[in-house]
Symmetry: C3
Subunit: 357 residues, 3 copies
């Protein structure tokens, strides 16, 4: 429970009206009831406010708050940033119990920091270290000699492989997997796939063979302030560790292959897949279902649209789109031309008739 | 164990021959043995029937059942609908034990309806409610204050987040995740990605920044008769709930982002990904690996082919395909033209020679 | 701990220098310390070797090992094959405890072979059989009457459905799912989607309907030497089993639909999705995020580039790419023409001016 004053102060935002009004939750403008703050940070929400019974709201700058029958209002200069602040305050969390649940299986050699919680039926293996105040949810597995920093928040059924090293304020959604083995195989003799890569299309005379496994001796290193989405997967490196930099966020079902390095403050959106041995810079944003082939680099600040398949190196700062991914303006130009193609073909037929007949 | 008569009556189908023949399972035509019914609902299965030892079969309409040495036959006017009926009768299930397993961790404040089963090592958190006759498989997690209706069937390792509200006859395959937090971040100042969206390609002068987290205060609301595939993920909403309508089915590894509303009776096929704040109508079918960008709508009855990336609103009833998704006939026309492109280029060279030289 | 001699003998490779040097692990050339072997199998690693303190290395053929200050060297004629051998020897594994953990729930009717380990909080259901020396990790679920061969290695949170039949030396990474139910539904009357498939785009007059479920009576059959990636999913067959052949490897988040047969020694790379009832030959390699529509075949030795969407049958030995997937050389030709399209359009405008004006 917070007062309007407390919320506004925490946001560094201006507030008007009854600053002592108590707020326990947030709601859409039309649904807000007493005790809830309506999130109405753009003029398009005015109708919803009018229709509902909101008593308090976060409003767009310059809104005439009293005309909506509100008792109090907070003004948001940058709406989504305000959303971050308000939702962080009002988050009720998952209600995981505190302390070490009696059904958890914690190896005596594991080291748990002050105030760590371990959920029901969670396993913490030998030699694992968990930093102060971290909350390990129900049904998690923390592998042997894995290290997790302070203030982590792991939801249910997260698994962390042996020897993973994870920074502070780590968050992982249900079913996130850190430290599966890398997908790495080789045939005794040169394979068709190897020939195809060299020749860009020709299998040559390679014969059918079985695959030998390259084991993963490395683990996964994750920086501070990283978040992993539900059921996403990060594989162990082969010799060195796979690396996720500080502040990077991975959405649901994202895949990061062995040896890949993701820089700081990257966003990898839903179902994006990064192959092995990719080098990704800082502040890179890859849209949903993007894909990246192995052994390339992606420079700082690259932004890729949803569904982009990145098949070659991308210099820093570039905005790309398509399959294969090309500069956004090239993509737009190509696509416009493609849409005109059927008409173009008719033009050419007319030209051919006129010129050759 | 059912008789041919019982199966035919349940299907509302015609049967001939020994209607008291006992059936315990189904088999492919060539593999069927005594006690099994051969599923041979099209003439292409005639050879398999001839080659095997089937004594009973579900046959296409008008088949000469006695010529295949059968003792009994059922005739299927709509083969796949018959398949639904027969497989529902003969499903042996997973053999999960009944009752509350002694190793389950059920909070005393949870309310379990009559005849509910809770599998080994499953956790039911405080305030959760589970409807009558529901079967919660092994290793599941039912979050705080979550509600699941009657007659649910949860396979192993399903997780349901706090405050999810789920209707009757819910089915979830192994590892399905309901209620991970949404993937929603914002930078303190305008980011390159925001500029790109506005300008369709230009990052502008945005500087590198870290991401602030927008928390999910909403949960997930799921209607009646919904099924979720293995390892699929549905995220919590930001302020209101993410919604899945009655009768909708989500395949394996499907992702539904925060705030998105999926209507009734939709099919989202394998690995389809829906971003946040999408509004999907009723009876929509999205083929495998389809993708949908955020903040658009998809009208009732839209059908998208496999791999379609939907980047803008789609009116009701449209059939679409491609990346970006366009009307099926436009896609076909564009694709045909593309295939002819290399020849077209040669034509243009000839024209240029003839005209300009 | 191995000597250089032991490693070289195991690889069948030539070694020089102090063959009794002891090796406990591997490292990148610049990071290798005493007791580690530097993996430097190409001349590009020479700088790293010079910069670091490696005492032993696996080198490219013909390298002047003494010039790098090494005490011993092994020479690798086929570098990745050597990598397979060295990493297999030096793999420290996950450190799962041996034996049946007291917290595991093993049904008395389950049969465990000699030397089987079952991790903490793992459930083995009634009638399951696990072959000798297999290691079932923590938090796994082995379903009723499932059979797993000898020498399996299951990581944490793997689930195996009822009646699955799996060969020897099976490996599964965290969260892999075998035996979810297939995604198979039918409407009472002909649906819009069915009409679209027949007409390639027209929904016809089909009305909105709800979906009836086709249950999965089949299970999953998996051969010897198969490996499944983290969170990948293989569905049960409808009447017969879904099949994965000997020696095939599936990467993270790969999906295999009901009834599909994958041949021997295939590689399905990250996030690849195979629909139902697909027939895939032997030695097929599908790049990351490839997709395959239902009810087609893919011949032996087919190789598909990353992101390829396979919408029709592919004859044996073909190399394909694109959406839809076409022969690699066709794809390259089409793509080159596409990139030239904007220029082409300007040419046509000039031609039209010259010819028609």
């Amino acid at each position: 429970m917070f007062t309007i004053r407390q919320i506004a102060e925490s946001l560094g935002a201006e507030a008007q009206g009854d600053l002592d009004l108590q707020i326990a939750g947030a709601a859409e403008p039309q649904d807000a009831e007493a005790g809830q703050i309506a999130m109405a940070m753009a003029p398009k929400y005015a109708d919803g406010l009018q229709a509902g019974n909101a008593q308090a709201a976060v409003l767009w700058e310059g809104a005439d708050w009293q005309s909506y029958g509100l008792k109090a209002a907070i003004f948001a200069p940058r709406p989504r940033m305000t959303m971050a602040g308000v939702t962080a305050m009002l988050d009720r969390g998952q209600g995981f119990p505190s302390g070490i649940h009696p059904s958890a299986v914690v190896d005596p050699s594991a080291e748990l920091g002050e105030g760590v919680s371990v959920g029901p039926l969670t396993v913490v293996a030998a030699g694992a270290k968990i930093g102060a105040r971290s909350v390990i949810g129900p049904h998690c597995y923390i592998g042997a000699d894995a290290v997790i920093g302070a203030d982590a928040q792991l939801r249910e059924m997260v698994s962390i492989g042996a020897r993973a090293a994870i920074g502070d304020r780590f968050r992982a959604q249900p079913g996130a997997r850190v430290g599966g083995d890398g997908f790495s195989y080789v045939t005794p003799e040169v394979s068709g796939a190897e020939n195809v890569r060299k020749t860009l299309g020709d299998q040559g005379e390679a014969k059918a063979q079985s695959w030998a496994r390259i084991h993963s001796l490395g683990a996964v290193t994750i920086g501070d302030d990283v978040e992993l989405g539900s059921n996403c997967t990060i594989d162990n490196g082969t010799i060195r560790d796979t690396v996720i930099g500080n502040g990077s966020k991975l959405d649901n079902l994202v895949h990061v292959g062995h040896n890949t390095r993701v820089g700081n403050d990257c966003l990898l959106c839903g179902q994006t897949g990064i192959s092995g041995s990719v080098d990704i810079g800082n502040n890179v944003v890859l849209g949903g279902q993007a894909g990246v082939v192995d052994n390339i680099f992606i420079g700082d600040g690259v932004i890729a649209g949803g569904g982009t398949k990145i098949l070659s190196n991308v210099p820093a700062g570039r905005v790309i789109m398509g399959y294969p991914g090309v500069k956004m303006e090239t993509h737009t130009e190509m696509y416009k031309a493609q849409r005109r193609l059927p008409r173009l073909m008719r033009d050419i037929e007319l030209l051919k008739k006129a010129v050759f007949k």
